[in-house]
C-alpha cells in the first residue's frame, strides 16, 4: 500500500527545516559569499517550483539593492537564449535553485558558464553531492529540506527563506533578519493549528476552480500555490497579479470558484474594489490576514491568520506558504487523490538536451 503521508509530514516539518537554515546562516555564516564577487546583473534561475521562487526572490533582491539589474528566468529560457541574456561586457551573478541538483536544464547552465570570467554562480540545493553543486562556484545546502514527495513543499519555502535571509544578513538588514527569526517561531507555534483550521475549511466548502491572487513578492508565491493545487488536487487553477486579474482572466470566475487572496501589503491600494468585484461574481473568498479590509458580513469570505505582528510585508508573505500547501493537500485528500503521487510527474525532470 502506498503511504499518503510524505507530503503532509514535509509540510508540517517545514518549521524544523527553516530553523535549521536560520541556525546555519546566522550561527555558522553559511552562504556568506553570495555577493562576494562584483556583478552588474543578478539572474535567478530554476525549473518549475524553483522558477516560481525565483520570481519572489528577484522582487526581494530589487527591494534591497539599488544599483543592480535583476531578472528571474526559467532555466530553459536562460539556456536557450544565452546570447540574449548574457553580454560579454557585463558581470553576472547567476543564482540557481534545484532540490535534487540533477535537473538537466539547470545543470546545463552551469556547464555552459563554467570558467567564464564575467560569470559567478551560486546554487541552492538539498543535496550536497549533486552535479549542480559540484559545478557551482559557491552554494548553500539545506539537507533538512530534502523531501521524499514529488511535489515540492518544504524545499520550496526553505530555499526562498534561505536566499532572503542570506541577502538580508549580508546587507545588514537586521530588521529583516529579526523578523525572519519571529517567522520561524510563529510557524513553529501555529502550523498544527493552521492544518486543523484549513482542512476543516476545505471540508466545509466546495469549489471546482481556484484562483490565487498576489502582487509584488507574492506573485511568485501565487504561481506556486496554483501549481500545488494542480499537482496535488488536479483542480483547475490559475494565478495572477491582483489587479491584472480584472483585465480579462476574471471572465472564468463564478459561484464554483475559490479565490485565495495572499497577504495584502501596504502597497496594495485599490484591493478592496477588486475583492468586492470578485464577491459580486459569486466566488468564495479565502483571505490571509486581511480580516479588517472587507468589513462586510458575507458567508462567502473566510479569513485565516489575524494580526500576526509582522512589520515587514515580505516576511509576512511567508505565512501564505503553509496555508496554500495545506489547502492543496486537503483538497487532494477530499478529492480521493494521493498527494504523494501527483499525476504525470517524476521527482526529478531529466531531459535529453
Amino acid at each position: 500500500m502506498v503511504k499518503k503521508d510524505y507530503t503532509l509530514k514535509e509540510i508540517l516539518n517545514q518549521t524544523k527545516a527553516l530553523k535549521a537554515a536560520y541556525d546555519d546562516i546566522i550561527g555558522k555564516d553559511a552562504g556568506a559569499d553570495l555577493l562576494k564577487k562584483p556583478f552588474d546583473e543578478l539572474i535567478l534561475f530554476g525549473c518549475g517550483t524553483d522558477y516560481n521562487l525565483c520570481q519572489s526572490a528577484v522582487f526581494f533582491s530589487k527591494s534591497l539593492m539599488n544599483d543592480k539589474s535583476f531578472q528571474a528566468l526559467p532555466s530553459s529560457e536562460l539556456l536557450l537564449n544565452t546570447e540574449t541574456y548574457i553580454n560579454k561586457d557585463k558581470k553576472y551573478l547567476l543564482v540557481g535553485f534545484s532540490r535534487s541538483g540533477e535537473t538537466t536544464e539547470s545543470i546545463d547552465i552551469l556547464k555552459r558558464f563554467k570558467n567564464k570570467r564575467n560569470i559567478t554562480t551560486f546554487i541552492f540545493s538539498a543535496r550536497e553531492n549533486s552535479t549542480i553543486v559540484k559545478l557551482s562556484d559557491s552554494n548553500f545546502i539545506s539537507e533538512e529540506a530534502l523531501e521524499k514527495s514529488i511535489a515540492m513543499t518544504q524545499a520550496y519555502i526553505c530555499f526562498l527563506f534561505s536566499y532572503c535571509l542570506i541577502l538580508a544578513k549580508i546587507l545588514n538588514r537586521n530588521d529583516i533578519v529579526g523578523e525572519f527569526k519571529d517567522l520561524v517561531d510563529f510557524l513553529n507555534l501555529n502550523i498544527d493549528k493552521l492544518f486543523t483550521e484549513i482542512s476543516n475549511y476545505v471540508n466545509t466548502v466546495s469549489f471546482k476552480k481556484c484562483f490565487v491572487l498576489g502582487s509584488g513578492f507574492n506573485y511568485g508565491i501565487a504561481v506556486e500555490a496554483d501549481l500545488k493545487m494542480k499537482e496535488m488536487a488536479q483542480v483547475e487553477s490559475y494565478s495572477y497579479h491582483l489587479h491584472e486579474f480584472i483585465h480579462g482572466p476574471k471572465t472564468l470566475i463564478d459561484d464554483e470558484s475559490l479565490c485565495l487572496i495572499l497577504t495584502l501589503d501596504k502597497r496594495s491600494s485599490g484591493s478592496k474594489d477588486v475583492l468586492k468585484e470578485i464577491l459580486g461574481y459569486g466566488s468564495k473568498l479565502l483571505t490571509i490576514d486581511c480580516k479588517d479590509l472587507l468589513k462586510v458580513e458575507n458567508g462567502s469570505i473566510y479569513n485565516i491568520i489575524s494580526n500576526p505582528g509582522f512589520k515587514i510585508d515580505m516576511v509576512k508573505s511567508f505565512l501564505n506558504i503553509p496555508v496554500f500547501q495545506i489547502l492543496a493537500y486537503s483538497k487532494a485528500i477530499k478529492n480521493g487523490l494521493n498527494p504523494d503521487i501527483p499525476r504525470n510527474l517524476n521527482y526529478t525532470t531529466k531531459l535529453n538536451i
Binding site: G48, S76, E83, G216, K230, H243, E244, T251, L351
Partner: protein, 353 residues
C-alpha cells in the same frame, strides 16, 4: 457560413490591413517621431494591462534580443504603479514604454502621471485612440489609428501595437532583417488568412477538448499567454500557458486525452524540443504544431501540423503567424460552445478602477 456579423471575426481578418498601414507610416513614410528612443538608457520598462501586458512580455524579449546592452523588463501596469520606488532608482535612466488600446485604462494612465516630471525617466506610448489621456501624458506616442476595435476582446489592436513596436525598435536599431521580415509577414498573413479560417474552423469542428495548453518560448511566451487569455475570454474553456520546457516541470500534471496542446512556432534555438513534444504526446493529448515541417517520430492521429513556412529570416517575426491561428481557434471554439465571441462573460471594453 458567414461570420461577418461578428465584430471579432472582422477585426481578426482586418489585421494585415492594419499592419500594412502601420508599416507604411513607420517604415516607408517615416511619418512618426521616436526621438525618445535615441537617448541612452540603463533600462527599458514595458508595461500594460491584460492583453497589453501580454504583448509587453514579447516586446521586452525583442528589446533585449536586438539591443544586448540595455536591460528590458515587462511589468503589469498595476505592479509598476504600486512599486515605483522599487523599479525606478535615482541613479539610473529609464525609458518607459506603455501600451493601452483605449488609452484610458486607470493603472496605465496613473503610471504616466506618477513618473511625470522625473528627469531620469522618459515615456513612449502605443495606443489606438488619438488624443487619449495616455498619449497626452507621454513624452512621445504612436497611435495605431485604424486598429480601434468594437469588440471587447482585443485582437487586431494586440497584434498591431506589437507590430508597431517591433517596427520602431528595429528601425531604431537599424536591423534590416527584422524590417524585411515585417514586410514578408504582411504578405504571408494576407494570403494565408482564408486558409487559416478554413483550417481552424474544421479543426475545431473535428476535435473536442475541454482543457487548452499553449506552449511557447522567448518571444512566443507573451503570445502564449495571450492565446490562453483569448480562449478563456471568448470560449470559457480552462486555458493555460507555459514556456515550452517549463511545462514538464509540474503543470503537465493536468494534461490528458481531453486536452489540446497548441505549440507556437518552435524556434531554431530550441534544443531537442522534439523529445519534449514526444513526452507531452505520450500523455494522449491532441497537439497542434504551428510553422514547422512534420517531425519524423512525431506522427499520429492526435498530432497535426499547420502553416509550415521557411519564409522568414528571424524567428521573432515568424512568431506573428501564430496570432491569427490562436485567435481563430478561440473564435470557432466559442461558436461551437454556443457562445457569442463579441460578448465575453464578466468583461467590459475599458477597465477603470
Amino acid at each position: 457560413m458567414t461570420y461577418e456579423k461578428y465584430y471579432t471575426y472582422k477585426e481578426i481578418m482586418n489585421q494585415p490591413v492594419i499592419w500594412q498601414s502601420v508599416y507604411g507610416e513607420i517604415i516607408e513614410k517615416k511619418n512618426f517621431s521616436y526621438n525618445t528612443f535615441k537617448n541612452e538608457y540603463d533600462e527599458i520598462i514595458i508595461f500594460g494591462c491584460g492583453s497589453s501586458y501580454n504583448l509587453s512580455q514579447s516586446a521586452a524579449f525583442l528589446t533585449r534580443y536586438l539591443s544586448k546592452n540595455v536591460t528590458s523588463l515587462a511589468l503589469p501596469g498595476s505592479e509598476l504603479l504600486l512599486n515605483t520606488d522599487l523599479y525606478f532608482k535615482d541613479n539610473k535612466k529609464y525609458l518607459v514604454v506603455g501600451f493601452s488600446r483605449s488609452g484610458e485604462t486607470t493603472e496605465s494612465v496613473d503610471v504616466l502621471k506618477s513618473i511625470k516630471g522625473y528627469k531620469n525617466i522618459k515615456s513612449y506610448t502605443f495606443s489606438c485612440n488619438d488624443g487619449s489621456t495616455f498619449s497626452t501624458l507621454a513624452d512621445e506616442s504612436y497611435i495605431c489609428k485604424n486598429a480601434v476595435e468594437k469588440s471587447i476582446v482585443m485582437t487586431e489592436s494586440f497584434s498591431s501595437m506589437l507590430f508597431a513596436y517591433c517596427a520602431i525598435f528595429a528601425m531604431f536599431m537599424g536591423n534590416s532583417d527584422v524590417l524585411d521580415d515585417l514586410k514578408k509577414l504582411i504578405k504571408f498573413v494576407r494570403e494565408k488568412l482564408p486558409s487559416i479560417v478554413d483550417y481552424t474552423s474544421q479543426y475545431i469542428e473535428k476535435n473536442n477538448f475541454n482543457s487548452y495548453f499553449v506552449l511557447g518560448s522567448d518571444f512566443n511566451y507573451g503570445l502564449a499567454v495571450e492565446a490562453d487569455l483569448k480562449m478563456k475570454e471568448m470560449s470559457q474553456v480552462p486555458s493555460y500557458s507555459y514556456h515550452l520546457y517549463e511545462f514538464s516541470h509540474g503543470p503537465k500534471s493536468l494534461l490528458n486525452e481531453n486536452s489540446l496542446c497548441l505549440i507556437l512556432t518552435p524556434n531554431k534555438n530550441l534544443i531537442k524540443y522534439e523529445n519534449k513534444l514526444e513526452e507531452y504526446s505520450e500523455l494522449k493529448t491532441k497537439m497542434l504544431i504551428i510553422g514547422i515541417e512534420e517531425i519524423k517520430n512525431l506522427k499520429n492521429n492526435q498530432i497535426n501540423y499547420f502553416l509550415q513556412t521557411e519564409s522568414f529570416n528571424k524567428d521573432i517575426i515568424k512568431s506573428f503567424i501564430n496570432i491569427p491561428v490562436f485567435q481563430f481557434l478561440a473564435f470557432f471554439k466559442t461558436l461551437k460552445n454556443g457562445l457569442n465571441p463579441d460578448i465575453p462573460k464578466n468583461l467590459s471594453y475599458t477597465v477603470k478602477i
